[in-house]
């Protein structure tokens, strides 16, 4: 599938910004379904970078919250299931 034409950066995150001309439909069906009229030419580099930044910023806002108690408790409870008692997170 890679025909050695696309000057490197086929993988990894930076590829996110490098592959905009690769816009061929995967399957005719899929294309019809998404009703995508294959935006011509792709985005400017600035626009691409900006979208990436916004996506990451939004995502990282959640990541920054860490692990809510709910999940710590859940794992503790699950871990305790066969250690007797098993009910109710302790400590």
């Amino acid at each position: 599938m890679r025909r050695g034409r696309d000057g490197g950066a086929q993988d990894g995150r930076e590829g996110f910004e490098m592959t905009q001309s690769n816009d061929k439909p995967e399957k005719p069906m899929q294309r019809a379904r998404t009703g995508d009229s294959a935006p011509s030419g792709g985005l400017s580099r600035e626009a691409t970078i900006k979208i990436g930044q916004q996506l990451r910023a939004m995502y990282d806002e959640v990541v920054k919250e860490g692990v809510p108690d709910r999940f710590n408790d859940l794992l503790k409870r699950l871990d305790g299931d066969d250690k007797g008692g098993g009910k109710g997170p302790h400590s």
């Binding site: 905009q20 690769n22 998404t34 900006k50 996506l55 939004m58 919250e65 999940f71």
Partner: protein, 182 residues
Amino acid sequence: MSLDNATRDSILAAIPNLRAFGISLTGNVDRADDLVQETILRALKNIDSFEPGTNMSAWLFTILRNLFRSEYRKRKREVEDATGMYADSLKSQPEQATRLEFEELRAALEKLPDDQREAVILVGASGFSYEEAAAICGCAVGTIKSRVNRARNRLAEIMSIDDLDDLGPDRQTRAVLTADRG
């Protein structure tokens, strides 16, 4: 069931990212957290099928993604009333300008087909390679690339991001900043 420490630690380590992915998919923190919880339960039930030494995070993402596809999508997406909810429910309240940007982006993501949304999040925000994202979504690498491209183009279109916008804060942000001052 007893968890060995390594397993528990790698699950814990993946949770913040799983939540972020879940919120991106569902647009709703509570539903996302339910989804993450189901993911963990499912993972532990099937822990034997996890190959030690492989990427636990990618494995969990795969489970979450499949749960979302099979169950959550069946339920009608009830997110129309959720405007503002996403940012409101974050513990650390982003500042106003950022909040507006997030809401705009969230609304735009909402309009994407599921396959494009998951692709652009996995590659653009979660930081998976195209290969990893393809494995998570069970499709070819080229398919993921194409979906990411389309998603990005649609997002730009919906949010009116274009070449005009390459000078510092965008119009909306500037508008907010100005309004705040007045």
